[in-house]
């Protein structure tokens, strides 16, 4: 039989430009339900004005990212059991470092724009996806197979990043990871974008992005790799003009 927990859901409420406050909703849940289920229940049975984003419910669309008890989570795959106890409180807030549109929904336009600017691919040849082993160790024949990129563009990494917090212009982990996967070799014009104040050097090695990424992108590792790419490129340009 399924277990029952009584929890309090504290939802951050805020219409554009307002200062946020919390509304509390008491409810009975199955601890093995997901945080998103609890938020949906508020909307379905308690308060029709609660605003949040979601679509696929299986960690593919990247729409339901929120801060749950201060930590960035993809709420559709975060079970309530992992975040609180029976009788406990679940605090849900919108992602940081994005403008809040309403309650839990943020405007991620800047992320999508920047991903497009660095030519981040949503589908790429298997060897370049660096799954399981580095690109160089794949059989060239595998180049014909493609797969979806790991990044689901959920923005959790941007929300968790202390550098993005102080500088809204910072390209941010997901974008730099996209640039890394794309590669400076293939796209030399990316250099001026990432070798800049708001590019790779703005990262202060806090590794928060990799800690919260729900999709194994490991943006921090990719940023470090991009640094090596940038450095190699700059160094070789010293000797022959690009």
């Amino acid at each position: 039989m399924s277990e029952k927990w009584n929890i309090t859901l504290k939802v951050s409420r805020q219409k554009e430009g307002e200062t946020p406050h919390f509304d509390e909703y008491k409810m009975e849940v199955d601890p093995d339900e997901y945080v998103l289920d609890a938020v949906e229940r508020v909307w379905a049975f308690m308060d029709r004005t609660v605003c949040f984003r979601h679509a696929c419910h299986h960690s593919t669309c990247g729409a339901c990212g929120m801060r749950v008890n201060n930590v960035e989570k993809l709420t559709c795959i975060t079970s309530i059991r992992d975040m609180c106890q029976d009788g406990g409180t679940l605090k849900v807030e919108p992602l940081r470092n994005f403008p809040v549109i309403s309650d839990l929904a943020v405007d991620m336009g800047s992320l999508y724009n920047r991903l497009e600017a660095v030519g981040a691919r949503s589908v790429l040849p298997v060897p370049e996806a660096e799954i399981e082993k580095p690109a160089s160790t794949w059989d060239p024949a595998d180049q014909q197979y493609i797969r979806l990129a790991d990044c689901i563009e959920c923005g959790l990494c941007i929300s968790a990043c202390p550098s993005a917090a102080t500088s809204s212009g910072y390209l941010g982990p997901a974008v730099l990871a996209g640039a890394q996967a794309n590669g400076l070799k293939r796209n030399p014009e990316l250099l001026q974008l990432v070798d800049a104040e708001d590019g790779v050097w703005r990262c202060h090695s806090a590794f928060e992005c990799s800690a919260v990424c729900p999709s194994l992108v490991d943006p921090a590792r990719r940023i470090m790799n991009l640094r090596t790419q940038v450095f190699t490129e700059r160094f070789s340009r010293l000797f022959h003009k690009a």
Partner: protein, 126 residues
């Protein structure tokens, strides 16, 4: 256009909801600011050396009280933590141990603790 926003500037300092790497970053920056302050203070004080033996020896004598020594211990501790944390940053930047950065951080900080304790004991008993 992005405007200077000093209010948001302090968000880096907030440790709530952060992880190992985030704390390391905060620690690194706090010690960096402290060490920068100390560095320039140190340089000013060293100018005493130029004025001659009396001034310098007097100053050193003045510094031999528990409060100044505690302050020095703080500086030493900050330097050691910043330096060892820096090793983590250099290693990971060049692609070593990126996936092990937490263990790296705790290992280096444990080492820092040992060195700091050693210096603390030594400085108070010397």
């Amino acid at each position: 256009m992005e405007k200077p926003s000093p209010d948001k500037f302090w968000t880096w300092f907030n440790p709530v909801g952060r992880e190992t790497g985030g704390w390391a970053f905060i620690l690194n920056r706090v010690t960096a600011l402290g060490l920068t302050f100390y560095l320039y203070l140190h340089l000013v004080i060293l100018s005493q050396l130029a004025t001659g033996p009396q001034a310098y020896d007097q100053f050193v004598a003045l510094m031999r009280n528990p409060i100044s020594i505690s302050a020095e211990v703080l500086v030493v501790a900050a330097g050691i933590m910043h330096g060892l944390n820096g090793i983590r940053i250099v290693l990971t930047t060049f692609g070593f141990g990126v996936t092990r950065q937490k263990q790296l951080f705790y290992g280096l900080m444990a080492l820092a603790l040992v060195i700091i304790l050693f210096f603390t004991v030594r400085m108070f008993t010397a």
